[in-house]
């Protein structure tokens, strides 16, 4: 191992005042620009103003619902299988309606483990889980980050708590002979 001595111009680098002044001038000019031309200001007044991401943004999950308002999810657990972060846990049960047969009595996502990769959405055969647009979801303690069915499907900002309708309906699939 060897030590390489780098020669730096000592005098010039210790002469810092001009650079600082230049920076302050730049800041002052930017401030004046922002004061007189608010529209072109590059920053947002968060949280009053918020940036709108594209609809393809992968934020917090949404569980979709059927026409009758029940969960579309069939508890096939393909999302839990595909999940690389191991954050989805589902408890399946038997429905009295033979056309539904299997449904989740508990569907929990540990959102702090989630890496928002969207594999669950890709794995789902019935459009039951989607990545939604939200991402600013603070919580007071760790418990607030385990999302259950009520939070995932029927939170207030999803259609006033009625849930997002799924594009896949059992009736139509049965009629089509699938």
């Amino acid at each position: 191992m060897s030590v390489v001595q780098v020669k730096r111009p000592q005098l010039r680098s210790s002469w810092y005042l001009p650079a600082i002044l230049a920076g302050m001038v730049f800041t002052f000019i930017t401030m004046l620009k922002n004061l007189f031309n608010k529209k072109r200001m590059p920053t947002l007044n968060y949280p009053e103003e918020q940036y709108q991401y594209s609809p393809r943004f992968k934020g917090n999950h949404v569980l979709t619902v059927k026409k009758d308002g029940d969960l579309r999810c069939t508890a096939c657990m393909l999302c839990a299988t595909a999940c690389p972060a191991d954050c989805i846990s589902i408890l399946a049960s038997e429905d009295e309606d033979p056309k539904v047969e299997k449904f989740p009595i508990s569907y929990e996502i540990d959102i702090l483990r989630c890496v928002f990769c969207g594999f669950c959405e890709e794995a789902c055969p019935v459009d039951a889980i989607r990545m939604g647009p939200e991402w600013q979801t603070p919580g007071a303690n760790g418990d607030n980050f385990i999302y259950d069915i009520k939070q995932l499907a029927y939170r207030n900002n999803l259609n006033q708590g009625h849930g997002v309708p799924s594009v896949v309906e059992d009736e139509e699939r049965h009629e089509a002979g699938i």
Binding site: C76, C83, E94, E101, K102, I178
Partner: protein, 520 residues
């Protein structure tokens, strides 16, 4: 012996062997649904097509016997095409239920499709609708749409259980499995039909929707339900054991009884709807606990006794100790505890606690035996080996100052358990080894101490079955860390340090599948 060539491999098989068996013996894959080694040949699925040299048409391998010099292949294009089309016909009316079908992951159709199919369906008509979620009996649910009419289950009830409940009704594409006059499928071997069903048409009510099969691992073991000692596969993940299935052996063939399938329920730590509750951490933390986890290092946990009463156990100090044994522990454990008892307590006062000994000779002709202990023979052999005598009647326990009870693991076959518990608590000091939580435990007096015992999936050893056959089994997994086997109890009584492996070094991993899979 007959010589033949299977896919270019020369092998010799016994005369009368079918071609499909020759394929199995040569280690070659062959598609099949209806053929099962434990049942008669039906030849209905038409999937085991093979090309035999000199024969212009394809033959089914299950119903063709091997002849001298026969050259058979299932690798040719003609066979592959035939299998593909056979599969297409099977799938015409098969619903795409895979996401909610319990068979997914171990389904014959899925496997064969990935092997031979991979075609785009050419059927333009919609699928025939049949009955779904038909309640066939106490333990089995039928989904007729998924059924491919291989008739394995029908043949099973005809040939093995001989109860003849199932049959195929209607004709053509409206054919369905059903029971005569709606008679329930309630024979004592009904869940075997679920095992042999190559698709998800028959599902077990007990396992239905509980887990996806790819989240489970399986390991071989021996059933502890009765003295037959059926070989089983235990399916488990980190949450516990979820089901057992028969494992082919000379003892049990391909089958096991329904009762034996419930043994896993005694193994799981406390969960809501299981029949028995394990003596788990919570139970151990009750006032009469005796063991606590002491230190964790090198993946091992050391046990130390915490209650004074227990740390001072010195068998020699008791004037009149007694040992109550049940036939539910392994040979190695008996050897260890009986040898210890002989050296420290003079081998006296050994009582063999028996459940309904008058029924022990009962046999239903197939597998179920009246002796509900897996290792009665082993216990008797071990007693004989050590030259000890056991009394089969439990006397009044008042005269004993120390009683060690090796309680049953499968306690619901012991109908006099609460009576014995009362009887035993008359002694001055009692240590009761129990794998399951005893209902009466909370009402028992303070001098009765419960020690959690290991179940058969948590230890290695061997059982001697009714005919004296010694079958060894290996540990499946640890579910209750604090539980001890009898070797450890012996060590503990001898004042040695007891170490046990920790449960689940992969504790944080819920979905093990994702960590093990390579490429998709």
């Amino acid at each position: 012996m007959v010589k033949c060539t299977i896919n270019g491999i020369d092998i010799e098989v016994e005369a009368g062997t079918s071609v499909i068996e020759a394929f199995k013996q040569a280690g070659q894959d062959i598609a099949h649904y209806c053929w099962h080694p434990g049942l008669s040949v039906a030849g209905v699925c038409r999937l085991c097509m093979v090309e035999i040299e000199g024969n212009p048409r394809l033959q089914i391998a299950c119903n063709t016997q091997v002849a001298e010099g026969m050259k058979v292949t299932n690798q040719s294009e003609m066979v592959k095409d035939a299998v593909k089309w056979g599969l297409d016909f099977h799938l015409i009316n098969h619903p795409l239920d895979c996401p909610i079908c319990d068979q997914a992951g171990e389904c014959g159709l899925q496997d064969q499709y990935m092997h031979f199919g991979k075609y785009d369906p050419e059927m333009a008509l919609s699928k025939v609708k049949k009955h779904k979620v038909v309640d066939l009996g106490e333990r089995v649910v039928l989904d007729s749409e998924r059924c491919i009419l291989c008739s394995r289950c029908v043949r099973f009830t005809e040939e093995v259980s001989k109860s003849n409940e199932l049959g195929i009704f209607n004709r053509g594409d409206r054919s369905e499995i059903g029971t005569f006059d709606g008679m329930p499928l309630n024979n004592k071997y009904s869940v075997n039909t679920v095992d042999i069903c190559p698709v998800g048409a028959l599902t077990s009510k007990d396992f239905r929707f509980r887990q996806r099969v790819w989240f489970l691992k399986d390991k071989p073991s021996v059933c502890t339900g009765c003295s037959t000692g059926c070989n089983i596969d235990v399916y488990f993940n980190k949450d516990g054991v979820w089901r057992v299935k028969p494992h082919h052996s000379d003892v049990n063939g391909y089958w096991m009884c329904d009762e034996g399938r419930d043994i896993y329920k005694a193994v799981n730590p406390i969960t809501t709807d299981f029949v028995g509750e394990r003596e788990n951490k919570k139970a151990v933390k009750k006032p009469n606990r005796i063991l606590s986890a002491h230190s964790y290092h090198d993946g091992k946990m050391e046990f130390i006794s915490t209650a004074e009463t227990v740390s001072s156990i010195e068998l020699g100090s008791f004037s009149n100790p007694a040992l109550i044994v049940t036939g539910q522990y392994s040979n190695e454990e008996y050897d260890s505890i009986l040898g210890f008892w002989k050296s420290k307590a003079g081998g006296k006062n050994i009582f063999h606690w028996q459940n309904q000994p008058e029924q022990w000779q009962d046999f239903d002709g197939l597998l179920i035996r009246g002796d509900k202990n897996p290792n009665t023979k082993g216990l008797l052999a071990s007693l004989e080996k050590h030259g000890l005598q056991a009394q089969s009647q439990l006397p009044s326990m008042e005269g004993f100052d120390f009683v060690l009870v090796l309680g049953p693991e499968n306690q619901w076959v012991y109908d006099n358990i609460s009576q014995v518990a009362d009887q035993v608590s008359q002694a001055k000091k009692v240590i009761w080894l129990s794998a399951c939580h005893l209902e009466k435990a909370s009402q028992m007096p303070k001098h009765v101490t419960f020690v959690p015992a290991k179940t058969f999936v948590e230890k290695s050893g061997s059982f001697t079955n009714f005919e004296g056959k010694v079958q060894s089994f290996a540990m499946v997994d640890v579910f209750v860390e604090e539980a001890l086997d009898l070797q450890q109890v012996t060590q503990w009584f001898a004042g040695e340090r007891v170490t046990a492996s920790l449960a689940h070094p992969w504790q944080s991993v819920h979905n093990e599948f994702i960590h093990e899979r390579g490429e998709l």
